[in-house]
Amino acid sequence: MAMLEIDNLHAKIDGDEGKEILKGLSLKVNPGEVHAIMGPNGSGKSTLSYILAGKEDYEVTDGSVTLDGEDLLEMEIDERAAKGVFLAFQYPIEVPGVATMTFLRAALNAQRKKRGEAEISTPDFLRLVKAKSGALGINPDMLKRGVNVGFSGGEKKRMEILQMAILEPKICILDETDSGLDIDALKVVSEGVNALRSPDRGMIVITHYQRLLNHIVPDFVHVMNKGRIVRSGGKELALELEANGYAEYQQDAA
């Protein structure tokens, strides 16, 4: 059994009588694998990431998701996080007045506690943050500022990766991490992500553009359209999409 198994997932916006956004999506992610999901706007990519994280605005109408054989959809948002699900947000949220450092520590300790582990000691925590933020080129002064408050687009994304590095999740979902980044920021962020690739960790990289995949080279590429994966292949599929666009998939599915 794969680490993360998504089987025939159907979902719609909660309370909305309208149409499904995901219409039978299936995907398996094994430890060590990086899967890229590409697709046109509105194909359901972000919805997939929210549903995996447990956002309450969606209703799963059919199908299943398991993490290490456990039913992920039954778990609370924070329980999923403690089990190792991490979502790097496309638009990271501001939490004014809460120093980033405080936030990181609260999150790490909350997860450790849920897993029955002891809280991290202050010196260990400071060492950990120093090492991880240094590698991402994050200025220590930024960690004193409120979470994402007044950060540039690039700073926000770097901060997401820092959180990922500190929380050491099992499965990372990166939602449009490249959006709003210039080429230099893209490089730094990608290096950060690559440093976190490990034989124990799976990643789902959601992106509209191929350019991110030059930096984070995936093992698999999936094309998503209208709530389904319509084609899967190796990394070369991304180049093909870059050249030809999504038009043929959109017609196929229509």
Partner: protein, 491 residues
């Protein structure tokens, strides 16, 4: 950060709807007959062995009060208070303020339970381990002060810290000079009532050029049923003096409402500074709005001398009704007033609180930072006045009022009044209202925080600017209290 974690622990350890300080101490007490007339006033005055001038002062207030009407402009509603159905004086039977060993052990136990050490030896041990600095405590139980610690050590520095009832006898000239000089007897319905029937409270005098060697604090406890508490606090910082004063309050849980109508007067002479911090945690009533304290308080500071400074910091989490506007009269040139407030309402609580900054002197400045947090079915109003007299050249004010709503059954209101009669005055006002957004909660929970942890973190972030103003030990306490107050507010 550890404080946030502690907060969360605390929230967990307490059941919804449980007010930690809601116990009642069963002791014998001596009360004035129920109701209020001139005889009640005479009874209280006699109990306190007051001089004639004090009785006259009280009677004048009482006569005035009879002609006044209860104010109704605040955004609060409550059943009519029957002023004749209250006890205006209640005191533990044993003699107090003699020596610590004469205090009823039940009362000592009460304060121990509240975490307030009244034995100086314990106070030394307890507080030194917490933070190094020492705090002198005056403990007021219903209508009387039961203990004041570190009196002798303070006396060495020339600082007078004692129950006001004692100060009236021992320092009549000081009391006569300053009592009612900031909040006149005729000021308002509740202040006038207080002037007639106040029973105890603290008196502080810091002489010229003295920096008070420790934090002073008064701990108010209402215990007796159907008893109003009317404390009176008077703090005077003479020229160049400095004092930091803390005030804490709790009461037992009761089905009936209890009345609390206090008056606090601060006087800062030239170059003096007074920092006054309150953590108000009176019983707020149960989740359906039954019981709780009606808190009608008049607090005012007079920056009487040039370059003087008065700073109010308050964390208001308790009471069914809060009606409270700690204010500053900026009389001296270059004087400064500050008001930092966190007001939290949950359940059926109603808060109408704010401040007045009255600029009279030249180049006076004031700063108002108010954070209102409403949850449950509560209503939370900021009401403030900033005014500049025509002689107040160069007056400056900065006001920032932020409101945070948790849930969709509560309300936050901001009612700022600005009056400027001097064209050189410079007043700035900022106000925001926000909700803890679903997105913020989702983001925090995605990182592993449960809903209560996430809410505590977001709220603590929201009030950070004000918490920073509190003395250290108090800030930690306040942070815990905030989370406990918001208990059960996350659906």
């Amino acid at each position: 950060m550890p404080a946030v974690q502690e907060t969360v622990e605390q929230v967990r350890s307490i059941d919804v709807d449980q007010y930690k300080y809601g116990f009642f101490t069963d002791i014998e007490s001596e009360k004035a007959p129920k109701g209020l007339d001139e005889d009640t006033v005479r009874f209280i005055s006699a109990k306190k062995n007051e001089p004639e001038w004090m009785l006259e002062w009280r009677l004048e207030a009482f006569r005035r009060w009879q002609t006044m009407r209860e104010p109704d402009w605040a955004r609060v509603s409550y059943p009519a208070i029957d002023y004749q159905n209250l006890y205006y004086y209640s005191a533990p039977k044993r003699p107090s303020q003699l020596s610590i060993d004469d205090i009823d052990p039940e009362i000592l136990a009460t304060y121990e339970k509240l975490g307030i050490p009244l034995r100086e030896r314990d106070a030394l041990l307890g507080i030194e381990s917490a933070g190094g600095s020492r705090v002198a405590v005056d403990a007021v139980f219903d209508s009387v002060s039961v203990a004041t610690t570190f009196k002798e050590e303070l006396a060495k520095a020339g600082v007078i810290f004692m129950p006001i009832s004692e100060a009236i006898r021992e320092y009549p000239e000081l009391v006569k000079k300053y009592l009612g000089s900031v909040v006149p007897v005729t000021d308002n319905f509740f202040a006038t009532l207080n002037s007639a029937v106040f029973s105890d409270g603290s008196f502080v005098y810091v002489p010229k050029g003295v920096r008070c060697p420790m934090e002073l604090s008064t701990y108010f406890r209402i215990n007796e049923r159907n008893t109003g508490q009317f404390e009176r606090t008077l703090i005077i910082a003479d020229e160049g003096a400095y004092v930091s004063y803390l005030e804490g309050c709790t009461a037992p849980m009761r089905d009936e409402n209890q009345l609390h109508a206090a008056v606090v007067e601060l006087v800062a002479l030239a170059d003096a500074e007074i920092k006054y911090s309150t953590v108000q945690n009176w019983y707020p009533g149960d989740k359906d709005g039954k019981g709780g304290i009606f808190n009608f308080v008049t607090k005012r500071g007079d920056c009487r001398g040039d370059r003087s400074k008065i700073s109010w910091t308050q964390v208001e989490t308790g009471s069914a009704i809060t009606w409270k506007y700690p204010s500053c009269i900026l009389r001296g040139d270059n004087s400064q007033g500050e008001f930092y407030s966190i007001a939290i309402s949950n359940g059926r609580q109603q808060v109408d609180s704010g401040t007045k900054m009255i600029h009279l002197g030249k180049n006076t400045s004031s700063r108002i930072i108010s954070k209102g947090i409403a949850a449950g079915y509560s209503d939370n109003t900021y009401r403030g006045l900033v005014s500049a007299h025509r002689k107040a050249t160069g007056a400056r004010n900065f006001t920032n009022c932020d409101s945070l709503l948790i849930g969709d059954k509560c309300g936050a209101h901001t009612v700022p009044y600005i009056e400027s009669k001097n064209s050189s005055a410079h007043f700035e006002h900022e106000a925001t209202t926000s909700k803890i957004s679903e997105d913020q909660l989702f983001y925090c929970r995605q990182r592993g925080l449960d809903p209560e942890e996430a809410t505590a973190l977001i709220v603590n972030g929201f009030v950070k600017d004000v918490l920073q103003q509190l003395p250290m030990e108090f800030a930690v306490e306040a942070q815990k209290l905030i989370s406990v107050s918001l208990e059960g507010s996350v659906g």
